[in-house]
Amino acid sequence: MSGQKTDDKLTDQSMASVHLKERREIRYDVSIEIEVSGIDQNGQAFHERTATTDVSEWGCGFLMSTELKVDDMVAVRMASTGQESGSSHPQCLYQVLRVKRDGTGWLVGAWKMGGCDVWGSELPKAFKSEGLGQEARREEPVADEEQHRKDSEQ
């Protein structure tokens, strides 16, 4: 993703702590298999394999069967395919910003806490497929606060 960065972009440190109103990134409806780890409401560790519903460079949405709360911290890494070891993908910390009931699960929106690159080459692939009109659908940038308001209205 470094090739996509331009000088007018905020630095990693600023992006990690930027105010929700200022967060406007292009999100892609792309499904990437991930493993989400954290501590559940009973204080037990969980490692849940799921897939993203949308992805941006700093944020992502995913469906969970484990209940999470706003401001919970989770570790996210791309799931290994079986042909590779799980540790080959970097694990990045995310802060949970939105949680919405979705059927029997929870739709979670999370924001990355540091400049760690969780998606590797998957996000550039999403950018490319956007050009071909396949898989990923580009969404207009929406600030988290607006998204939160939309979720509440639904």
Partner: protein, 237 residues
């Protein structure tokens, strides 16, 4: 407050004062430390267990509206570091003491094991140990602003007194040696004083100027050797 391995710090605007925050943070870190041990016994990789417990600690603290996440890099007057992997809590803070309407400021570092045991208080500028303190004393109200600040002031005054030896030497003494001895983590100023030539060497507690004993003749022999060496050194200078 930094949790080692965490990409951001937890920032508290209103009550970072150690008299308010140190003990609650120690308790929260202790709970997280216990969680590391529990997860490790359940088969979680220890580094991963420390990371998960650190995440849980941060989430717990964020439930208090006074805390917010912030970027690393800026220096703060009071800062806490929790390392769940090594099981240590470290704090640096600025304390002050007022005597006769004069205010003295002190920077201190406090470090200890999260699981328990004494904490060591250091002067970060000089790297000296000011005192070693048990947890129950840290839990006393206003320990940092009163007891510890006074202790820092006493240490500073000793430092200044040692720095002006020529002004404070006893004019009646034939010989005098001043030293600082570490006793149970506390630095105790000690004076060895010989009142008359070939007389005994008294051991004086420098804090209260109290006589506490006399050097044995064996030990006097060592002191004579040191004195002779220095006399010769100065004679050839």
């Amino acid at each position: 407050m930094e949790i080692v391995g965490f990409p951001q710090i937890l920032y508290i605007r209103t009550c970072g004062d150690p008299d308010i925050l140190f003990v609650p943070l120690l308790d929260a870190a202790r709970e997280a430390g216990a969680m590391v041990e529990r997860l490790a016994t359940q088969g979680e990789n220890r580094t991963n267990a420390a990371m998960l417990s650190g995440m849980h600690l941060a989430s717990t603290l964020l439930k208090d509206a006074s805390f917010s996440l912030g970027a690393k890099g800026l220096s703060h007057e009071t800062a806490y570091t929790v390392d769940l992997d090594t099981g240590t809590l470290h704090m640096h803070a600025q304390l002050y003491s007022v005597v006769s309407r004069r205010t003295s400021f002190f920077k201190v570092e406090i470090a200890g094991k999260i699981s328990g045991g004494p904490f060591v208080v250091r002067n970060p500028t000089q790297g000296t140990v000011i005192m070693q303190v048990e947890e129950d004393r840290l839990r006393q109200p206003n320990f940092f602003s009163s007891t510890l600040a006074q202790e820092c002031l006493r240490a500073q005054m000793e430092q200044e007194r040692f720095g002006h030896l020529d002004e404070s030497l006893n004019p009646d003494a034939h010989g005098e040696v001043r030293m600082s001895v570490s006793v149970s983590g506390n630095k105790v100023p000690v004076i060895l004083r010989q009142k008359e030539q070939n007389g005994n060497w008294d051991i004086i507690d420098g804090r209260r100027q109290e006589w506490v004993g006399t050097l044995t003749s064996d030990l006097e022999g060592y002191l004579k050797s040191v004195t002779a060496f220095i006399q010769e050194l100065f004679a050839h200078k």
